[in-house]
């Protein structure tokens, strides 16, 4: 497809850039600066800084969580029962006051807020939100609420990036993008997994790939991970067990895990979808106590024998991977973690869903693996392998990020052998979850908040109209380049049909296509240029051509400029597959709208 370039961002930047003001050097430095600091390039450099700042912030966030944990719950592996009850309850009270009076935007996970910044607020996220998220989430996770640090890190990164973008006075397009760039940096640093972070932000927040977006997101993610590893080391979050798949038939066992994980995801997301609006509908004064009550109930669960449900729970994921729980205990922990996370999240306590999702997935995976081993002792997969696969399963089923879920497990495990089990199990979980709960959890939360953000999942599933859906066969619209104007006019008049536009396509061998109207031919004949061939008359006036698989919206951009466009084969641009006009495009859109309404 031959598309004329749009006005570039560079042009916009040049227009508003002040003169350099160094007269003794003439215009040369200015030209050099314009070349080097075009906004798109500058944005890439800025992405690195965003990554660095986000990485440093996430490191501080991790310190804060650790300190909160030590001072609120104690430094030992076994916690005192009184602390287990009091710490999350009292912290819940403080968090409620802070969220209601000081940081109202700190509530929730942070993913939707970043999406809202992209689609509604032109990239604006107040810096205060980052501070609020930092303080309240650290307090919540450190005191034992069943939430994780990843989503808050994502929002902190996005908020920092947004603040930086505002100071830089970036263009509106760049400002919209800057929050996801910061989000990727925050998530990558929190997860120690740059690929997963990049994929998640592109898959769930931005929803599209371009070289510019990918470059910025990757640069910010990589620089944040480098900073994080500088301070906290490069070790993986878990000790990864040996992964083996001796017989392909064992994939059936992983499929079972996918089915169980899919059902658990539906239960988890249905719980969030049902309980969250009910909690929010309660009288306003109850919001002061909701996090505290959630904390109290989590503390009671912990005291009754499952302290593993408190906090992010990475230590216990690691233990589950290494066979330190029986499969019955693992199943109980998965169920209790769902309850604990529901309590924390629906009470409006700030914190993330990623870590609890991984926890539930790991426990469920190891439980299913353990139970299958009891029934079929010959299975070669260790509990650790099932736990790893289980993490991906819940990620695909609950967060509904299928690509990220696969790469996350690959990145965390560093082992390619796990790819087949992960693909199979994640696909089952994703399909079951989608089948039973058509709206993804992030979209449910957005709609509960009264926002209408684009759903990435729905966009992925949406049918796209293509040129081939609107084009019609080219029966009489083509003239030959060697014909003279007289002959061409005769041919046009002989095949005249009022239904079709007065324009004809001319195949310009070997260079491409052009077009000419009947009035233009008549003028040529009147001016005595009747013997002039169309090839010479139309030389240098070529028109754009389309391919059948181009999106219809591409055609829409050009049909008002050229009344008739050729649709040609990708193998041979001289071979005409059909033609398309503005009328054809509009008719198809009208039809599409009617189909959509009737559905």
């Amino acid at each position: 497809m031959d598309i004329p370039p749009n006005p570039s961002d560079a042009t916009l930047l040049e227009e508003r850039q002040p003169a350099l003001g160094l007269p003794f050097l003439g215009r040369a430095p200015e030209a050099f600066m314009r070349l080097v600091f075009r906004e798109d390039r500058f944005f890439l450099v800025l992405s690195v800084f965003i990554g660095i700042f986000a990485g440093l912030s996430v490191v501080c966030f991790r310190f804060a969580i650790a300190w909160c944990r030590i001072y609120l719950l104690g430094s030992g592996a076994t916690l005192a029962p009184l602390r287990m009850v009091l710490a999350p309850s009292l912290a819940g009270l403080v968090i409620a006051v802070l969220v209601i009076h000081v940081f109202p935007l700190a509530r929730g996970s942070g993913v939707n807020q970043t999406k809202a910044a992209l689609y509604i607020y032109n990239g604006y996220i107040p810096l205060r939100t980052a501070a609020g998220k930092f303080i309240t989430a650290a307090l919540a996770i450190g005191s034992g609420h069943s939430l994780g640090p990843e989503d808050p890190s994502l929002q902190i990164g996005a908020s920092l990036a947004s603040a930086l973008g505002r100071r830089m006075r970036l263009s509106r397009d760049r400002m919209r993008l800057i929050a996801p760039v910061g989000a990727a940096a925050g998530l990558a640093a929190a997860f120690n997994a740059p690929i997963s972070a990049v994929l998640f932000v592109i898959e769930e927040v931005i929803g599209r790939w371009t070289a510019g977006i990918l470059g910025s997101v990757v640069l910010s993610a990589v620089s944040s991970v480098v900073v994080m590893r500088w301070f906290l080391g490069s070790e993986s979050m878990f000790r990864i067990p040996a992964v083996q798949l001796e017989r392909p038939s064992e994939l059936i066992a992983y499929s079972v895990l996918g089915v169980v994980g899919g059902l658990a995801s539906v239960a988890f997301s249905s719980g969030v979808a049902t309980l969250r609006p009910r909690c929010r509908a309660l009288p306003r004064w109850t919001q002061y106590f909701q996090p505290a009550i959630a904390g109290l109930l989590i503390g009671i669960i912990a005291v009754l024998g499952a302290p593993q449900v408190m906090g992010a729970g990475y230590v216990y994921i690691d233990e589950a991977m290494h066979g330190q729980f029986t499969w019955q205990m693992l199943a109980i922990l998965a169920g209790l973690k769902i309850i604990a996370t529901l309590l924390s999240f629906v009470s409006g306590t700030p914190g993330g869903m990623f870590a609890p999702t991984l926890f539930i997935g790991a426990m469920l995976g190891a439980a299913v693996g353990g139970a299958e081993h009891v029934l079929f002792p010959h299975l070669s997969g260790s509990p650790g392998t099932y736990a790893l696969v289980g993490m991906g399963v819940l990620f695909a089923g609950f967060l509904r990020a299928p690509m990220t879920s696969v790469f996350m497990v690959l990145e965390v495990s560093g082992n390619y052998s796990i790819i087949l089990p992960v693909l199979i199990a994640n696909t089952f979980a994703y399909l079951i979850s989608r089948g039973l709960q058509p709206t993804a959890i992030f979209d449910v939360l957005t709609r509960q908040d009264g926002l209408e953000l684009p759903s990435m999942e729905e966009q992925r599933e949406e049918g796209t109209l293509r040129v081939e859906d609107a084009m019609r066969p080219a029966s009489r619209e083509v003239l030959d380049t060697v014909l003279g104007a007289n002959d061409s006019l005769d041919q046009v008049l002989q095949a005249w049909d009022a239904k079709f536009p007065e324009v004809r396509l001319v195949r310009m061998d070997p260079t491409g296509w052009s077009s000419i109207t009947r009035p233009a031919l008549e003028i040529m004949v009147k001016e005595g240029k009747g013997n002039l061939t169309l090839g010479s008359a139309l030389s240098g006036r070529q028109i754009l051509f389309l391919h059948p698989d181009n999106p219809l919206e591409t055609a829409l951009r050009y049909v008002d400029r050229w009344p008739l466009l050729p649709v040609v084969s990708r193998a041979d641009f001289r071979k005409l597959e059909g033609v398309i006009s503005q009328e054809d495009v509009l008719r198809r859109y009208q039809l599409f709208g009617e189909e959509d309404t009737s559905e």
Binding site: Q17, P18, L20, G21, M33, V36, F37, F42, V45, L46, F49, I52, F53, L56, V59, C60, F63, A66, W67, I70, S75, G76, A77, T78, L164, M168, R169, V227, F231, G233, E235, R239, P241, A242, V315, H322, G323, Q324
Partner: protein
């Protein structure tokens, strides 16, 4: 009043110019870099505080865990080492001690997970290989156990490597003996003997292991080495006596066993063995130092003893029923009865070849009755040993 206006204008211009400079990318980048450096320095300072606290807490829990581990309080040790690992998840020492404590609690599967992780990090660590070998041995995974034992023998050890490697080899030999892999145990024992120091205790233990592996020659050699330094060590004397006894060197065995019994009168097995050795010496008609009359007397006594043994064995077999005890070949009784009139002092003197014929029959009877009727009298046991001694001659 033109001057203040000019001043104001120029001040505004400078301000505008300054702002325009600030907006320019190189300046922005310089400012961002400076900000990043400041932030980085601040986080580094914070990080030092954090790391110091983490190290302090990790060490505190580790010390408590180590103390509990030493006292055998494995449950508390596990909790404390787990707490220590919260602050230094990858600490080799913390993981190793936690795994040791888990072994103490017999939670081998959990310990194995830690050990295998430690092995991945340091495959040459002796202790980790040894523990993995022990776990594999308990799981009856012989190949894995042997692999880890051998790794441990050639691995790096803290402190005295020689001692640790030798002890590991000893443990491997004991394991091999337990699983009845005597040939492999003997090979390891030969390697062990080469590395044993001139310490009587070690040499005696080496001798014991050779004995268990039924390598009596090497066992005797090790006991002798030990006895050179400690001639009155009852264990070495008993071991040397047993080795010599098993080798059929009854005279030597008698010497060692006499010393062993006199050093340790409570050593009943040695005393019993001494008695048997003395009886063997006394009842062997093929000794070189005895006279013909003595030899004939011994043959007569042996022949009578064999006849009695045959009779008692047949009676026992008849009493318990033919199905339970296989009765000795009836041919032997007939042969014995046929030969009996010829086995007299004069008969033996007349026909010296009769000594061999008579003793062959005696040995045949003792072998048959021993397999058919089990344990015999001391005399019969001695005759059996003499039979074994002269087997093939």
């Amino acid at each position: 009043m033109p001057e203040p206006q000019e001043d104001t204008q120029s001040a505004g211009g400078v301000k505008r110019q300054f702002r325009s400079y600030l907006r320019r990318e190189p300046v922005i980048l310089a400012l961002l870099s400076a900000l990043a450096v400041i932030f980085f320095v601040a986080v580094t300072a914070l990080s030092h505080i954090y790391e110091a606290q983490q190290e302090f807490l990790g060490n505190r829990w580790f010390m408590r865990g180590s103390a509990d581990l030493k006292q055998g309080h494995f449950e508390s040790a596990v909790t404390e080492f787990r707490a220590a690992l919260l602050y230094s998840r990858d600490s080799y020492a913390y993981q190793l001690n936690l795994a040791e404590a888990l072994i103490g609690l017999k939670r081998n599967a959990e310990a194995y997970a830690y050990f295998i992780n430690l092995w991945d990090r340091e495959p040459e660590n002796g202790l980790v290989n040894l523990e993995l070998a022990r776990i594999a041995a308990q799981k009856r995974e012989t190949d894995q156990a042997l692999r880890y034992y051998h790794n441990a023998i050639y691995a790096t050890w803290p402190g005295d490597q020689q001692v640790q490697r030798r002890d590991t080899r000893v443990e491997l030999i004991e394991y091999l003996l337990n699983i009845k892999a005597k040939a492999q145990a003997q090979a390891e024992l030969i390697a062990l003997a080469a590395n044993l120091e001139d310490e009587p205790v070690q040499q005696t233990h080496g001798g014991d292991l050779f004995l268990q592996a039924q390598d009596y020659e090497h066992a005797l050699a090790e006991y002798r080495l030990s006895l050179k330094v400690q001639p009155h060590d009852p264990a070495a004397l008993a071991g040397a006596g047993l080795s010599a006894f098993q080798l059929g060197r009854y005279s030597l065995a008698e010497n060692y066993l006499q010393d062993a019994v006199s050093t340790n009168p409570n050593d009943a097995p040695s005393a019993a063995r001494l008695k048997t050795a003395a009886l063997v010496m006394q009842m062997d008609p093929f000794q070189r130092q005895i006279s013909v009359a003595q030899r004939d007397g011994i043959v007569l006594e042996a022949f009578v003893a064999a006849g009695q043994r045959l009779e008692s064995c047949s009676a026992a077999g008849a009493a318990k029923g033919p199905a339970t005890i296989p009765v000795a070949q009836p041919g032997l009784s007939e042969e014995w009865a046929k030969m009996k009139p010829r086995i007299t002092e004069s008969g033996l003197r007349r026909d010296p070849d009769l000594v061999n014929t008579a003793m062959e029959l005696v040995f045949g009877i003792e072998r048959q009755t021993s397999s058919a009727c089990g344990a015999a009298s001391e005399k019969d046991a001695a005759l059996l040993l003499i039979a074994k001694l002269h087997e093939g001659n």
